[in-house]
């Protein structure tokens, strides 16, 4: 039998097959189907056309209104009402109302809903985040979400895979964000189109779970179908803290086939920034030059977790944001918000002249809570810097780590935190 990648093994098991190969079409059982306030209403409308009695399993659907929540306008409120009523009618266990909700991809692992070996689809492209805990998870659209909620199944083309070997200990100020931006800069925004990105190597042991979530989260920004990490001691500790769900650990076969292999020496990386208007337009902090910014955003499903809050606070502690700078910090979930409060980080942020928001996707996709005017620039820890992504069509978004974003808030231009020492 030919060897399988980690992704292929998970898919085979969920399709009831002993073996799958790249390119094969399969139907797989789903462990979780996810939607948010933008994509779920379209899925619910489609599902209603199907005239079914209900959903396939009320415990295996997660509905997380987070994009325009707390509602930014009447139309958004109508969408959330649609999701809320659907959740109530179908007795959906994992519906998260304002007050308990967070940004979906930070919230679900925290709630223990994503575990190793799962097959998860979500009507949000950053669903690939859960690869950090060793699950196969991928973004789909509203129609696939509807079919998934109805049947508990989805069809997939089994992906080929690219292997990324991460070696060594990350240099100072290097986080998961720098690693994934470096990779996207190297292979391009379609470098992993239709393929799995499998991360291996001794460097992974140095990465926190939050770093791994950030890396898996942006697999889609390289066009990847999913990004996935092996399950190690750190994963197990994380799972012990967050879930009681049983899980199965899959490992890639030694003779699994990869279409390409890349080695990334983490000790040699430099803080990395993606320039407008594609995540692949990366430069190291040393190549950036003088780029003045008007706004800083620290948050999102990519970088709104505890590590991100702590590093931002470390940089902002005892300092103040530059005059005229707007610095917006958004803890991704209520638990992160609370923890940041208990550790005194919120006080640090506010004393530094930043604002702290309730969890929301908000500015990342140009929804609200920090929209840019014509000609304005933002350095952001979010995941996309497309034309018009955060506001006016002639505004600019630069993507970076929380450390670089926080340092830039202090200086008013894109800066390395090392410059502040």
């Amino acid at each position: 039998m030919m060897g399988m990648t980690m992704t292929q093994k998970i898919l085979a098991a969920h399709a009831g097959l002993a073996q799958v190969t790249a390119g094969q079409l399969i139907e797989a059982n789903l462990d979780l189907v996810l939607g948010n306030d933008i994509t779920s209403p379209v899925a619910i409308k489609e599902m209603e056309k199907m005239k079914l009695d209900g959903v396939f399993d009320k415990d295996k659907i997660a509905l997380v209104p987070d994009h325009f929540v707390p509602n930014k306008d009447i139309k958004s409120a109508e969408h959330c009402k649609c999701v809320r009523e659907f959740a109530r009618k179908n007795e959906i266990t994992n519906y998260f109302e304002v007050g308990e909700m967070g940004i979906e991809h930070a919230l679900l692992p925290e709630k223990g809903l994503t575990v190793p070996g799962d097959v998860i689809i979500g009507a949000d492209s950053h669903t690939c985040t859960y690869g950090a805990v060793g699950a196969f998870s991928t973004g789909i659209g509203s129609t696939d979400m509807a079919a998934g909620m109805a049947t508990g199944k989805a069809w997939f083309k089994v992906p080929a895979a690219i292997k990324f070997i991460l070696t060594g200990k990350p240099a100072k100020w290097i986080s998961g964000k720098d690693i994934i931006l470096h990779i996207i800069g190297m292979i391009g925004v379609d470098g992993a189109l239709y393929q799995s990105m499998e991360f291996v190597g001794d460097g992974i042991g140095y990465l926190s779970m939050d770093d791994r979530f950030t890396i898996a989260n942006m697999a889609i920004e390289a066009g990847g179908k999913n990004g996935i990490f092996p399950v190690d001691a750190k994963t197990i500790v994380y799972l012990e803290e967050h879930t009681k769900r049983p899980y199965k650990i899959y490992t890639a076969d030694e003779d699994a086939e990869y279409v390409a292999e890349y080695t990334i020496e983490l000790d040699k990386l430099r803080p990395t920034v993606a320039f407008p208007h594609l995540p692949e337009n990366t430069k190291t902090i040393d190549e950036v030059g003088e780029v003045k910014v008007d706004q800083v955003v620290i948050g999102s499903c990519t970088n709104g977790r505890m590590d991100d809050m702590r590093i931002a606070a470390k940089v902002l502690e005892g300092r103040h944001v530059a005059k005229g700078m707007r610095c917006i910090i958004i803890p991704a979930t209520q638990a992160i918000y609370m923890q940041a409060m208990e550790e005194g980080l919120l006080k640090t942020f506010i004393q530094a002249g930043a604002v702290v928001s309730t969890p929301t996707c908000g500015p990342c996709l140009g929804g609200y809570m920090g929209i840019l005017a014509e000609g304005e620039r933002c350095i952001s820890t979010t995941n996309r810097n497309f034309v018009g992504r955060m506001g006016h069509v002639n505004s600019e978004v630069y993507l970076a780590s929380p450390a670089v974003a926080a340092a830039s808030a202090v200086t008013g231009k894109i800066s390395c935190p090392c410059e502040l020492d």
Partner: protein
């Protein structure tokens, strides 16, 4: 199944944020979405597009968000088919699922120019640019995909199948 119309031409990595900016995603009404289709890269698109027209683009069309609003907006604007060198994975799936014909053909994506009159035969995958009088062979649609598109989407197709 056939499509014919005039071409709107775009480059690499046309993302879903420019196809339909998130500031309009507080609506899911196809007609309303269509009034903002492509506006961040082509403000004239919505004024000029005619029913049956065709979008031709280079690599990675539809990258970014999983919003199904993107193919919905394109379809509701009257576009009959998108031809590209390659499509982003989620967009590809979504387009088929909502019944928007799309076809990968690197040669056609390269040669066809804005304003050309182009026809596509989905059974054979043959694309003809009548303006430059040139024929290209794209991937023909498998029968089940044609059925989904004829039914105007996956859900209708499932319902019709019973």
């Amino acid at each position: 199944m056939k499509a014919q119309g005039q071409v709107f031409k775009y480059g690499d990595n046309v993302d879903t944020d420019v196809i339909i900016p998130a500031r309009y995603l507080n609506s899911s009404d196809p007609k309303e979405l269509a009034t903002h289709c492509m506006e961040d890269i082509d403000t004239e698109f919505v004024n000029r597009v005619q029913k049956g027209d065709i979008i031709v683009a280079d690599k990675n069309f539809g990258c970014g968000s999983s919003r199904e609003h993107a193919p919905i907006a394109i379809k509701a604007s009257g576009i009959s088919c998108v031809i590209a060198k390659t499509f982003a994975r989620i967009f590809y799936r979504n387009a088929i699922n909502i019944g928007l014909p799309i076809i990968e053909c690197p040669e056609a994506a390269k040669a066809i120019k804005a304003g050309d009159e182009v026809s596509i035969d989905f059974d054979s995958g043959i694309i003809i640019d009548h303006t430059i009088n040139k024929e290209f062979k794209g991937q023909p649609f498998p029968e089940f995909m044609q059925k989904i598109i004829k039914a105007e989407g996956l859900i209708n197709y499932i319902n019709e199948k019973g």
